[in-house]
Amino acid sequence: MSTSRATPPDAAVTKPDPATLVAALKRATPARTPYTEVRFSGMLDRPLILHGELEYSGPGRLGKRVDTPYKEQTTITDGSATVQRGERAPRTFSLSQAPELEGFLRGFTALLGGDAASLQRDFELSASGTSAHWQLQLKPRDSRLARRISAIEVDGAQDTPRCFRTHEGDGDLGVLLVDTLADTKLTTRPTPGQLDALCRGIETR
């Protein structure tokens, strides 16, 4: 894995450096984007598709609003997550109760914060593609996290990530489409293969 910071200015044709890639992802806070999330689970015989908005407001702080098919607001701050659903009382739980979740969210917000150093503490990074269509792969270093999450793949173009694919240890897969991909029309039962192609930009525009 390369951690070299001395990257040539023209990285378009060479293999992209993950640290440089990550550093370029830094968003001004608060950063908002619509999203479409598709979850494939062994418990479900068809994927769960959610639409809503993500809000990144600084390291360790993330908001996720679900608009359809139901309404929900999740707020993650300082190591705890609060889930508010309709009129029900909010439920709060600690991320350290689920270290895998904590590691995942740390990685996720470090990515949005462009914080390559902290990302590399938790994950092994590798990159491929070109600056127009790059791919970043995150493999958890912590074995407990690795048991729950085998890898996170991020696809993007220039300084914008567009697709996050989370491969969970039990075979479940979560695909998060953001930015320009968020509004993609999907079939009612998309397959992981279709989404894979979508993320890699094979079928885009």
Partner: protein, 776 residues
Amino acid sequence: MRLIRSRRSVFVLLSGWLLALAALAVFAIHGLHISTDLRSFMPPPQTPDQKLLMDQIGEGPGSRLLLLAIDGAPETRLADLSRGLADAVRKDAAHFSLVVNGAFDPAAFDDALLPYRYLLSPTLDTHTLDASYLGDQLQQRVEDLGSPAATLLKPLLARDPTLETLVLAEHWSPPKPPSLRDGVWFSAEGAALLLTETRGAGFDPAAQGAAIDALQAAFHALPDVGTAHLEVSGPGYFTVMINAKTRGEADRIGAVSTLGFIVLLLLAYRSVPSLLLAALPVLSGGLAGIAALALLFGSAHGITLAFGFTLLGVAQEYPIRLLSHRRAGEDALTSVRALWPLLATAIASAAIAYLAFFASGVGGLQQLAVFTIAGLLVAGLSTRYLLPRVLPSRFRDVAEIPGIATAMRLVDRVPRPRWLPWLLLLVSLLALWRAPGSMWQNDLAALTPVPQDMLIRDAKLRGELGAPDVRYLLVLKAADADAMLALSESVATQLDALVAQGALDGVELPSRYLPSAATQRARQAKLPDRATLATALADASRDLPFRTDLFDPFLADVERARSLPVLSAEAFAQSPLGTRLASMLVQREDGALGLATLSGVHDAQAIEAFADTTQGHVRLLDLKAASESLVIAYRERILRALGLALVLLCATVVVALRSLRRAWHVIAPMSLATLLVLVVERGCGISLSLFHLVALTLAAGLGLHYALFFERPVADAAEARRTLHATLVCVISALLVFGMQALSSLPVLRAIGLTVALGVGFHFCLSILMARERRR
């Protein structure tokens, strides 16, 4: 020749004595178990409340709770420490039976208990496992799978799609739980809060000290403790803290006054060997007392021993009398023979008087009597038969000390109007009649007060944790454990109404943890059979994305729950989840008692009024009132014993002196002086406690000596001067030791010190005034 042989025999005798003391000490230390449990000190309980108090004192669910707060680090760090400490405490089953910090511990539900969740949870009282309820639940689970909580809930989902285990965990959290942050309880100030229940009794300082040490050790063994610190509060902590403080101050005062005492004796007798040897009779008496307790009882309460050593203070007078009454040209044995009849009278009358304590029937008082009688007899006999034989033959006749003659003249010149004692008596009775405040202090805890700031901190923590009140318990009485649980269920709504009215903040009923068999059966009857449930489930998940056979483990669990035998209180109390119930359940020969804890009691009368409507099935137990009634009962027995002791004492003195008139001169000043102490203390608004009574008894014992010796007809002026010298040494040493205690900041030491110091002063003055009167 005689001198040489006597030297050798002195050496042999002294070595033998010291060896015997060493052997006695070894026996006493190994033979006597010193108990710190208040129960071994208290009188036998009479009322049902007292009986329950004796069972529950320090063992009730409330008093065994320690409140913990972790502070001094960032919140997420504190939450980790809270979880780490809870894990460590959970493993320390020797000290703790329970620990809660707000975090849900799914591991607590073992496989065997898991199907019982539908019988334990109130869900089925209001819902049925039909298609509409399951549909609503499953829709929520879909949403859960889409949320970050998915990883947490996925392991539970297939077996428990209604998340009944979480419902139960919530149902079992305290009535008013603190706010959950980062998954654990936090105070408003941002400290992580935990609650532990110790195995040891709340008022047992040894057990609580060990538990608190274990807590601190476990806390500091956690990784990255850093600047964080653990604060402990609760009855057990107070017990430990006060015990240490009392012991520390008593030791300090003891050290200073012992030093003063040594200087005083050196000044009085100018002889180091005499000083060292004079300590032997009291030492012998103390060890003999402990040995007697070890032989007869095997154990004694710490307070009994403290009282005993206080009362044994009289014995220090015996060697002092012997040292002061030695006359020039006479060996110590001859001196002691002249002194013995009077000394024997004093010892015998005191020992006979303490027999009254033995007859009291109170364990603590009987032990006190055995200790004191054995101690006084051994101290007296060793002063008579051993001490004179080992004292150095060279000494100074105190009658020749110049100052003594002057003092004697002063004492002789004091006017002694015969009306004065009567006037004093009259004024005393009037003053006692008009004295402010209540006569008796019934709250033993008032003598060992917990510092105000600690009480405030405790109340704050207690409020935040919703931890139960230590003072009140609701006692549910029924024929057996299940009937008690049914009773608990039947009163729940009325108690909730009382909570709504504001009479109290919360109640924790045993049925919250385990429903009665009837309720469990009713819930069981509502569970659908496998086919019905499968149909309902298929119906409910028709439009949902769940895999068809996903919930098979759920179907199996419900099927098992349908045929389970209901969970009994005994079985549940054995399980890790049942610890809370176990501490609320008392099995007795005549049935079962349930102890419901109350928190934030504002209106005890309203709760009492409700309890009155239950035909005695539910009672509000006021632990404070019950313990005060025990103290009153104890005091009544002490007073009765003291009355009897006074009669025995008078009879012994009359018989020994063979004269009513002479006996009067001894007993009158002693009685009046005791009365004067009472007048002064009551005049200052001091309420009298057991400790005051014991101190009064010691002072009276000392006063008896002063009066006896002043009253004694003496052959010459030199002997009168020796008596005065001996008495002065005794009075000054007692004032020194007890005067120091009177200055203590601790009420219990102050009570003893002030009473004895005042007593010694009054006894001395009145003995001069009244006992010597007739002799001129």
